[in-house]
Amino acid sequence: MDLSVNFAGIKSPNPFWLASAPPTNSGYQIMKAFDKGWGGAIWKTLGVPVVNVSSRYGSVNYRDSRMVGFNNIELISDRPLKDNLREIEEVKKYFPDHAVIASLMVESREQWHQIVKDAENAGADGHELNFGCPHGMCERGMGSAVGQDPKILELIVGWVMEVAKKPVIVKLTPNISHIEDPALAAKAGGANAVSLINTIQSIVGLDIDNFTAYPKVDGHSTNGGYCGPAVKPIALNLLKNVAKIPNYGLPISGIGGVENWRDAVEFILLGASTVQVCTAVMHYGFGIIREILAGFEQYMIDKGFNSVDEMVGRALPNINTWENLNLKYKIVADINQDKCIGCQLCYIACDDGAHQAIGLSENPEDRKPHIIEENCVGCNLCSLVCPVENCITMQRRDAGNEHLTWKERTIAGDIPDSFDDERGGGVGHHVPEPREAIAYRLK
């Protein structure tokens, strides 16, 4: 299977790259990663070497899962530029066909010119401009401070384009309400591609015994940047927003919470043409690439895709605005009584958190709940809380031949427009009397 990609002119044996972060801090690590199967790497951001603190990381654990969310207060590379450049050169010597991209972050026009030239002289295949770091660097006017200001972003991209001979990727920050603005500014500045997301500003948790937050630095803390599996939904949405910009045209490198082949497929179907990984490697090492590669190839075979390019953005046409969704589509929950184990989680979820559409048997021996179909709004909460695979499924109830959207209703002037409008969706729907909640007390 040919997984090779050409990303804005940067060639790579596969679309799986290491994001600019600790796993790409040195030539040793990147060579090891390439040896294991990674297609490319964005070098840990280069600039004027920084000074870091310890500790630097915090994590969100959920039940028995560690690091479902990960947070760092680390800055860019703390190594002298010349050491990094020498190692870039060496990596390219051993791995000429792999993508080595220099992540860059400096302040002045002169510095940008100098570092772009230095990186190209060392043999870098492209540049990624770090306008995303949301902690520390932004306090000094760099990183997300740039990414949040489209005008400045465009200006700096312009400086870079004045000298760059290799493709330039702009790495966007998610810490902004309209990602389209910096994405368009990058394009206006002449960038060849964008990548997203960098980390999300966060406080990962508190030390409630000592009244401070994690990570702790001598009793104090600061906000950090959030990444790992927990941020994937946010990354996917921002990716979609950029990919949906009409006639955008720039290739996108997707980043944020990628850990396995399935995540990688999702990013690509939503418009990314390469995928970058950081946290998953920091958690499990470079070896996870074998699971990504195997699963990704199998998916391509199963779906009949011949190249990564064919997959890029395949799901985008089906991602719409809310107003274009079919209001006539009607599904209801169905509980498979043979599979049901009687945990009653669906019952309490629906009764307390949805629409009181699940009933319990009068017979206390029978623990299996049933759907009260006329109350079910088809929200599918129950099927999400159910711990048994395929036990609660959603069954279609409309005939399938009607299609009416909010947009169409708006055009037709048939939407609720006053507070007690009878055309509201909940009108006539079963809602229990308030006092039924405490019926046992009123008896």
């Binding site: 039940r63 028995d64 009687g342 945990c343 009653q344 989680l345 019952y347 623990r367």
Partner: protein
């Protein structure tokens, strides 16, 4: 046949009787508690005779509120720690876990429970204290789980409690009867001390209540009396040869085993007669004490055994051989038993009938009778108007037919588990409190 060598020191004894439900470490407790689904109306709560809010305490363990978890447990069950280790969880809470219906291993509720309560006990986290004295006095006969639970409940409300205990130790069969691989003596006594330090009940050891005089004194000095005497000694079989030196009642032998450990004399070829849980324990214990051959011989069929399936499995795992449909006719031997004569049986209309001409002999050097326990007639007979049903003290909401007397635990339920005794003792305590208010 047996995989165990006879233990000759305490260390070997502990190896042979290693805890089948060892204490969880923090990581294991965290992982295991993560699996709990937090069912609504959780069936495990219903299945627990003391109705501990199991999903709550498991969630509390998961959020590292171990203290809170222990409190949840103790609020429902004063023997929370012992129960976590000795309850037949396979047929109680864990048996009700919905994971069973998914063919997934049920949550190890017993061990999680034990994890939380052990932490509270070892760190001496106190949740309760005795109430302000209200001038009332209650005598409790028997310091088993029923008696102790009753005492806790009464002390909480400021009632003065004296527990009269025939033996020199407390907690009854918990420390004297339960198989050593389920719980150690130290664990039982730690929990007792923990409870006593919070509730401050009095235990009068070596104080058997047996004479009319004893009873009269109690009735005179106390406002109410709780019967928590459990069951008595092993019943006789009424067959020839039962009095031979190496024929033992299971309960009596196990009591020696729990005290003397590796010093307890066990045979090499043991026959255990009976089909209940006590028989299973006695057989397992014989094997773990190094008997080369242990035969469990029961009058009825395997399916008719009173023992829990998992208890029989446990016995089989250590090499016990079951022989079914065989009734003992005679214990043979000169002074000491060297064989038992049996006759084959079948069950007809629910009754055991022997099959003529099918006698056979099994050799042995020790016989253990696990054929049920007698009750404490010598005591019950002397209490006026005390009605019995089927050898059990008759009660109505734990009050006996003599209104001054209350009862709970084995002497009332006929013989169940620690958890039942703990529950009944507690609720008998509540019944006594409302009786004292009148």
């Amino acid at each position: 046949m047996s995989e165990y060598n006879r233990p000759v020191n305490e260390q070997e004894f502990e190896q042979n009787f290693a805890q089948i439900k060892p204490l969880m470490n923090n990581t294991e407790a965290y992982y295991e508690s993560s699996r709990c689904l937090f069912c609504y109306n959780a069936p495990c709560v219903e299945a627990c005779p003391t109705h501990i809010d199991i999903p709550l305490f498991i969630r509390q363990i998961n959020t590292n509120n171990i203290k809170g978890a222990a409190r949840t447990i103790y609020d429902s069950n004063y023997f929370g720690n012992a129960c976590g280790k000795v309850c037949p969880t396979e047929v109680l809470c864990e048996g009700a876990c919905v994971y069973n219906l998914q063919d997934v291993k049920p949550i190890e509720i017993g061990r999680l429970q034990n994890y939380a309560t052990t932490s509270a006990i070892r760190n001496d986290i106190k949740f309760y204290s005795a109430g302000k004295s209200n001038g009332k006095k209650v005598a409790i006969i028997g310091s088993g789980p029923a008696g102790i639970a009753c005492a806790c409940e009464l002390r909480k409300e400021g009632v003065h409690v004296d527990i009269y205990e025939a033996r020199s130790n407390a907690t009854g069969l918990t420390v004297n009867g339960i198989a050593p691989y389920k719980i150690t003596n130290d664990e039982v006594l730690e929990e007792l001390a923990y409870l006593q330090s919070q509730f401050g009940f009095n235990i009068l050891y070596n104080s058997k209540i047996e004479t009319a005089d004893d009873i009269e004194k109690l009735e005179k000095n106390y406002d109410a009396i709780f019967l928590g005497v459990g069951n008595g000694e092993t019943s006789k079989l009424n067959i020839p040869g039962e009095d031979k030196t190496n024929v033992h009642g299971a309960v009596e032998l196990i009591e020696v085993l729990r005290k003397e450990h590796y010093n307890t004399a066990f045979g090499n070829k043991v026959i255990v007669l009976g089909g209940g849980n006590t028989a299973m324990d006695a057989a397992s214990e014989s094997a773990r004490m190094g008997a080369a051959s242990v035969k469990l011989i029961y009058r009825r069929s395997k399916e008719e055994m009173g023992a829990y399936h998992f208890e029989y499995e446990l016995a089989k795992e250590v090499g016990v051989k079951g022989i079914f449909n065989a009734a003992p006719l005679e214990i043979m031997g000169n002074g000491s038993a060297n064989a038992v004569k049996f006759i084959k049986t079948k069950t007809k209309n629910g009754k055991v009938v022997t099959i003529p001409g099918t006698e056979f002999v099994e050799e042995c050097d020790m016989v253990i009778l696990a054929t049920g326990q007698k009750n404490h007639d010598y005591l019950f007979d002397k209490i006026s108007n005390l009605e019995m049903v089927k050898n059990k003290v008759k009660t109505n909401n734990y009050q006996t037919s003599n209104p001054k007397y209350f009862a709970g635990g084995d002497c009332m339920n006929g013989g169940a588990e620690v958890v039942n005794a703990a529950y009944e003792g507690k609720f008998a305590g509540k019944a006594i409190l409302s009786y004292l208010e009148k």
